[in-house]
């Protein structure tokens, strides 16, 4: 083993490679790991959404479970706090009849200085089948995918500012359920684009699904330097950015990721970039309001909007389970080929 890596804040991880698909797809193009949306094709994204659709109506069953992953063990390896993502991954695994192990790294050996690879090898030795990984460093899921034993799948549940593919997929699923065809839609992603792995994954997914127009709306200080290369229309004015849009995706202001003062105050941010009932009227009358959660009410979104008739925020949580079931069953199926 030549690489050593200490799993603590500030540890350097290799950046995700330019060809993630060599890692996340099998030779015949099936999904083996889910690390990033970037580079996947429209057919595969559509297949994931279609598969999720068949899991979505499982809620009608008396027994909300299928035996697909019976006997498989899935490890939630979370180095960073999460409620929605971890619990919906856990529920998804359980509804597929898998066994779930939650490893909370704050209380594990990582605090004693055990390297990430050591942690990995130890859990691998328990004969597990899948890792669901969240980490504050970009590239962690890729790193783990490169080093796990063959036959183990890795799902990225959020790595630093880089990617959160299953969140983007559940957002696409929610949009498709309400709006159908992506090619006619105008979608605005509003807020802290700079720190948002969710936004990056959403932008890739929306473009792969050939969305009519993808807008990002943010102050210059919360836009990444490479925003021009993402295939989006940039707006610095919320009123202009919301004109006639069919979908508004609000992002959480990520104070914990801000190294310097990007903003004067939360109050001023709300004045300029908060989604209020008044501003919502600028969008298309049947516009959807989405938020990956947790929403800061009164900072990026007015409570009346978050709970209002346009909001599909809670549906997003529900669909997160079906989408994660789809991804889990597809990666487990791909190993068998």
């Amino acid at each position: 083993m030549t690489e050593t890596l200490i799993a603590h804040p500030g540890a350097r991880l290799p950046e995700p490679g330019p060809l993630p698909n060599r890692l996340q797809l099998t030779d015949d193009g099936q999904l083996r790991h889910m690390l990033t949306i970037e580079g996947l094709n429209r057919e595969l994204l559509t297949e994931i959404l279609d598969t999720a659709e068949s899991f979505a109506n499982m809620n009608e069953k008396a027994v909300k479970k299928v035996p697909l992953l019976r006997g498989k063990t899935i490890v939630n390896l979370f180095f960073e706090a999460s409620t929605r993502t971890r619990t919906t991954f856990e529920l998804a695994a359980k509804r597929l009849s898998a066994d779930v192990l939650n490893v909370n790294i704050n209380t594990s050996s990582a605090v004693k200085g055990e390297s990430l690879l050591d942690t990995l090898r130890n859990i691998e030795a328990m004969n597990v089948d899948m890792f669901v990984v969240r980490h504050e460093e970009s590239g962690t899921a890729h790193f783990i995918a490169r080093h796990v034993a063959p036959g183990i799948s890795v799902l990225n549940a959020g790595d630093g500012r880089h990617a959160h593919p299953t969140q983007a997929l559940l957002d696409m699923f929610t949009i498709r359920r309400h709006k159908g065809d992506f090619t006619k839609l105008k979608v605005a992603i509003v807020g802290d684009i700079l720190h948002s792995r969710v936004a990056r994954s959403q932008i890739h997914a929306l473009n792969i699904l050939q969305t009519g127009e993808v807008r990002v709306v943010a102050p210059c200080s919360l836009l990444p330097a490479d925003v021009d290369q993402l295939g989006v229309h940039v707006y610095n004015d919320l009123d202009a950015g919301l004109q006639d849009v069919d979908v508004i995706i609000m992002l959480r202001l990520q104070r914990e990721r801000m190294e310097h003062a990007h903003l004067p105050s939360e109050h001023e941010y709300y004045q300029l970039f908060g989604l209020t009932s008044r501003r919502l009227q600028l969008a298309h009358p049947t516009c959807l309001v989405m938020h990956p959660g947790p929403a800061n009410r009164g900072v990026e979104i007015e409570s009346a909007v978050a709970d209002g008739p346009h909001s599909v925020i809670l549906e997003q949580v529900t669909y997160g389970i079906s989408v994660r079931m789809a991804v889990m069953s597809m990666v487990m199926g791909a190993h068998q080929a």
Partner: protein
């Protein structure tokens, strides 16, 4: 020469009417297994004059060969009444071969409740059973041996076709 499907359907409907009558079943829930079974089930339901909507099962999530061949590329949502408790189910498939599909279908059905009874109806019953599954209503019986299989093509018109089994499939 393969049998004519509409003729087989007429015969199946006759058997089904007799079966329902002798068992005192008035309104069964007709459930087809995707895809061929759904086509047959729809025709059978019409012929029997069953008013309740057709149930559809996609058994992909219940297959016993998932760990070997992975996810079926096109899984359609199963559509069944919310609760099967106490219902009489007429389960319909196109071809009864190894019996593994029916095993999976029964497991899925029971995740929707506890039916009072399940009766199996198939268009074609062939040799090659690997599980103890038996159909009460059978359109045709065929001996095909290990190198041939029978496929239902459809939905319009429905016709049966004999095809050679891919040697790759036999190894699996």
């Amino acid at each position: 020469m393969t049998p004519d499907v509409p003729t087989l359907l007429d015969d199946m409907a006759e058997q089904a009417r007799h079966h329902l009558k002798t068992h005192g079943i008035d309104q069964p829930i007709v459930v087809g297994i995707h895809s061929g079974g759904v086509w047959i089930a729809e025709h059978l339901r019409e012929r029997l004059g069953v008013e309740r909507p057709l149930g559809k099962l996609d058994i992909s999530f219940y297959r016993d060969d998932f760990s070997r061949i992975g996810m079926h590329p096109q899984v359609r949502p199963s559509e069944l009444p919310e609760d099967l408790d106490g219902e009489h189910v007429l389960l319909v498939d196109d071809v009864l071969f190894t019996g593994r599909t029916i095993r999976a279908a029964l497991n899925e059905l029971f995740d929707y409740g506890r039916p009072a009874s399940v009766t199996l109806a198939v268009l074609v019953e062939r040799d090659g059973r690997e599980l103890p599954m038996e159909a009460a209503i059978v359109g045709a019986h065929m001996e095909l041996g290990k190198t041939e299989q029978i496929k239902l093509r459809g939905p319009e018109p429905l016709r049966l076709e004999r095809v050679a089994i891919d040697p790759e499939d036999l190894k699996a």
